[in-house]
Symmetry: C2
Subunit: 562 residues, 2 copies
């Protein structure tokens, strides 16, 4: 808070000095030091992951409706940031925080952010980003090769050729997916001699010209919501994202896909253009991977753009032992990957890669003043305009950590995943509901005797026996699941209140209880600081709280079980 | 470069340590110190603005087609960054760099970037961004009030109300404009009982439902290329951005606008929906401001969404003396502002504000796993998904610099603009071609005697005299302008080669020579470190090089002038 004696008067000399890195940067270093101590304390501090403060209390802290008139001292503002912001931030880097696709980050990332801010390059244009444009293109080529592994000469010819782009750096995965789909749209309604292309004339005229009534994007029910958002933005309509059910492994059901495609192509009079098929390499909810080789050949067969949303899992290609899992990704026309996920970079940066060096030319922009025709500016190919030099972070990280290092990190993540699976088994009061591939477990609290009971109902219900009994068993199973759903919602809320650990929560229709929707807890195990002891504490807390809450639900269950 | 003896072997302990802010952060501080010295040296260094290295040479430096296998030491990578990246970056913060909408930034921004990276909040969701979501909403409310100045109770009610959003933080101005236009599209084809809205059914069905053949966006010829990009993305078609010519002050010609609107609404059978009218508050090329009050009333009259692209000029509202210039902006339905422009933040951050708290609800998203219905997550309203806590920078800057401080900075920018105008006059070999409002001058090199000659031709050509002579004068004028265009392109290239100073270059159709297109140099005068002496040097260099190059063009001119 500002105290009256610290009131300072603006003057230009003071302001100008703010813009100059001081001759001897002692003051700056001093601030930097204090800041680091402050951040250090924040992470060391015992106490909640989310801070105990309530949202209404925060609303009261940040309730100034006007911009401050008078300047404040930097140190006072930093103190305010400490007290009001840092102290009430979420400790997403805590090893007890295993709820979202976020982790601790290597501390050198902070150094890289300093460089990025100090250089302040704008990647849109070579006049504002010289070496950094080349770093970006090199980084894009690295990932392109990782995914598509085209011949060495392909990269030698194209990686630094300003006439093409092998991919874009985007502000996040949503923009990466959007970029892939706008290219797919242009490929579905391409420019010809008499037709300037969808982006020029609009969707309505494009559909008309090519004789279609709609353009659809096909993805599994595990598809990220950014795809629907993209379909809405691109004027295709959210309802034209066709969701194909998944199997028990959360992978798109290929039979159903084929049936749907057949229907779209033939039974509905061929009026639907299948613009893109999207495969997922690491679903947001369960971390599972679609059958990419099958999706690749089907896409090729029907002439649809094949996009792989590998925002989560794409980086696993860095490590040989994960390559078989991602087989088929090299058949994609485009692939999106997030740097702030498994490349362990700070928020936020996406990457979209196109197998063909020609694809991004379909959406190339020019303008008189900033990206002249025949320019070499990166901004010609991107949806975003002004862009920071974000790619320095993963570019440097790949050097500092190396493929070897990422290998160790992913191995550690896999170990944590197995460790957690074992602990959940041992605890006996949990049920795991997916088969983890990329470090994500979905599970629920379920008392041992209830688990035994519903197994019995399930085998009875699915047996070939006829009559009332199997029907009755399935009915009881559904009612019990309903109770267990409520229990897990309540448990998740209790965990949030306890706040010493954090997992997230979602609802899946794809478990062994399908089609019934099951509430699950979701753990993402990528923080290398999360060790076995911590996992034990996390599960211990869940077991303890779950057991307590179960008591409230037990009578209702007894009524069902009889 | 890596030397063999420094080869390090990956091990998990080493890697884990990278993820922990060291107990005593000495090593980190040491790196930080070195980095700052490095950056300091870079800025102090004499030598070119863009570094002398050629693009092909850079292409050879960044030509590794594979991701490195083995890890490197942080200090070696930092040394590589220094030698290969920093040394060949563009000194966009140099006071001699007055060519783009970029400036030196206050050094405390680097401290803020450290905090942002260390906290690593993801603004998409309250579970990953607690206090930072409230900071964002407070900051958005500040700017909303600055632009729309709605009553205090409006802000008290809405600023921290998670059911609505007064605006979004976006990755840049392009995304801010895109957000405004997707909302405009939804308002043009709104959901009703029988119609779920354009985003759900797509453009084709939306046009059909409402009985239109196309939806258009109207903007002046000074409109930023992001608007065309947005029209393409949104499925409206780039050709449906209707450009209205500007007057000599680079402001949209209202008469022509009315004529065009009339034609669109009546003569063409009313089949065009006028979706949005875009006013510009600070055009990219000339920094001029459209007649916003007129655009506001016309938009209201015809029921079009009125968007003001104030990416450049919006921040000027911070200072009372600029408010009259921006009068009418408060009538907008939406306004976009860039933080990395006149708020002096590092790359990149945009802001889009909506006058009505209901507008952003039209594009609200939900999903099972990340932004549940009834959630309070900011991500429901944004085009982007994962987003960094960027708004900490302008939020803190408004406290540290204050309105007063921004007032001083903008006054300094205006002084620099006037100073440069005067120096251009005094030098006698330049012609200024716009009337600067917001710190941008467009001008060209033009020898004094040629200037006198073309004035003469112009008055003769535009006189009421009939016959061959006036026609002949105009012909000579055009041919001379053609030569002067070539001269200024060559001068700009020579300046790039000299590289001690930097202005940009563009082509305008709106000068006193309209409709002939004139090549102009473009100076953006916002760096508070650019003083009078530096401006003198910049213009001195241009005069010297321009004079030299003129000799090549003189014979051709003599032929015309006779």
């Amino acid at each position: 808070m500002r105290s009256p004696q610290k009131k300072i008067k603006s003057n230009l000399e003071y302001l100008r000095k703010l813009f100059i890195m001081p001759e001897s940067p002692d003051k700056f270093i001093e601030f930097g030091h204090e800041l680091l101590e402050m951040i250090h304390d924040f992470f060391q501090e015992k106490g909640g992951i989310h801070s105990a403060i309530t949202l209404p209390e925060l609303a009261r802290i940040f309730n100034q409706t006007c911009i401050p008139d008078e300047p404040m001292l930097i140190k006072d503002v930093l103190a305010e940031i400490k007290g009001k912001v840092i102290d009430h931030s979420v400790k997403v880097g805590s090893p007890y925080y295993i709820g979202h696709m976020i982790s601790a980050i290597p501390y050198f990332m902070i150094l890289l952010e300093m460089i990025i801010a100090a250089l302040n390059q704008n990647q849109v244009k070579i006049e504002t980003a010289k070496a950094s444009s080349f770093v970006e293109r090199e980084f894009v080529a690295w990932l392109h090769r990782l995914v598509f592994n085209r011949p060495e000469r392909f990269y030698q010819r194209h990686m630094q050729n300003p006439k093409v782009a092998l991919g874009n750096i985007t502000s996040d995965g949503t923009l990466a997916n959007l970029t892939a789909l706008v290219v797919a749209r242009e490929k579905a309604f391409p420019p010809t001699k008499n037709f300037p292309g969808a982006r020029v004339v609009g969707i309505e005229k494009a559909l008309e010209h090519y004789g279609y009534e709609r353009a659809v994007i096909v993805v599994s029910t595990r598809g990220h919501y950014s795809l629907k958002k993209a379909a809405g933005l691109l004027g295709l309509g959210e309802q034209n994202v066709i969701e194909i059910p998944v199997d028990e492994f959360n992978r798109m059901d290929i039979k159903r896909l084929k049936r749907k495609l057949n229907h779209l192509q033939h039974d509905s009079g061929g009026k639907a253009k299948i613009m893109a098929i999207v495969g997922i390499a690491g679903t947001t909810e369960t971390g599972n991977i679609d059958p990419l080789p099958e999706l690749g050949s089907i896409s090729r067969e029907i002439g649809a753009h094949f996009h792989v949303d590998a925002c989560w899992g794409g980086s696993a290609l860095l490590v040989d032992e994960y390559k078989p899992m991602l087989r088929g990704i090299e058949q994609a026309d485009s692939v999106s990957i997030d740097a702030h996920k498994l490349l362990y970079c700070p928020m936020a940066m996406g990457i979209v890669l196109f197998r063909s060096e020609k694809d991004l030319n379909l959406i190339k922009q020019t303008s008189r003043y900033i990206i002249r025709r025949n320019s070499v500016d990166t901004g010609r190919f991107t949806i975003e305009g002004s862009r920071p030099f974000s790619c320095l972070k993963p570019w440097a990280a790949l050097k500092i950590i190396g493929r070897e290092g990422y290998g160790l990190l992913f191995r550690k993540a896999r170990e944590s995943t197995f460790a957690m699976m074992n602990l959940l088994q041992e605890a006996e009061t949990f049920e795991v509901l997916n088969t983890p591939e990329l470090f994500i477990i979905t599970y629920r609290f379920l008392p041992a005797h209830v688990k035994a009971q519903i197994s019995e109902w399930m085998s009875l219900g699915r047996s070939r026996r006829k009559g009332k009994e199997p029907r009755e068993a399935l009915h009881r199973l559904r009612k019990t699941n309903h109770i267990i759903n409520a229990l897990n919602i309540k448990l998740h809320k209790a965990l949030r209140l306890d706040d010493t650990t954090f997992v997230s929560r979602t609802t899946l229709e794809s478990t062994r209880y399908r089609p019934q929707k099951i509430v699950v807890l979701r753990a993402v195990l990528i923080n290398p600081l999360t060790d076995h002891q911590i996992l034990k504490e996390i599960i211990g807390t869940q077991k303890r709280l779950g057991g307590k809450i179960w008591k409230e639900f037990e009578p209702a269950y007894q009524k069902i079980a009889g």
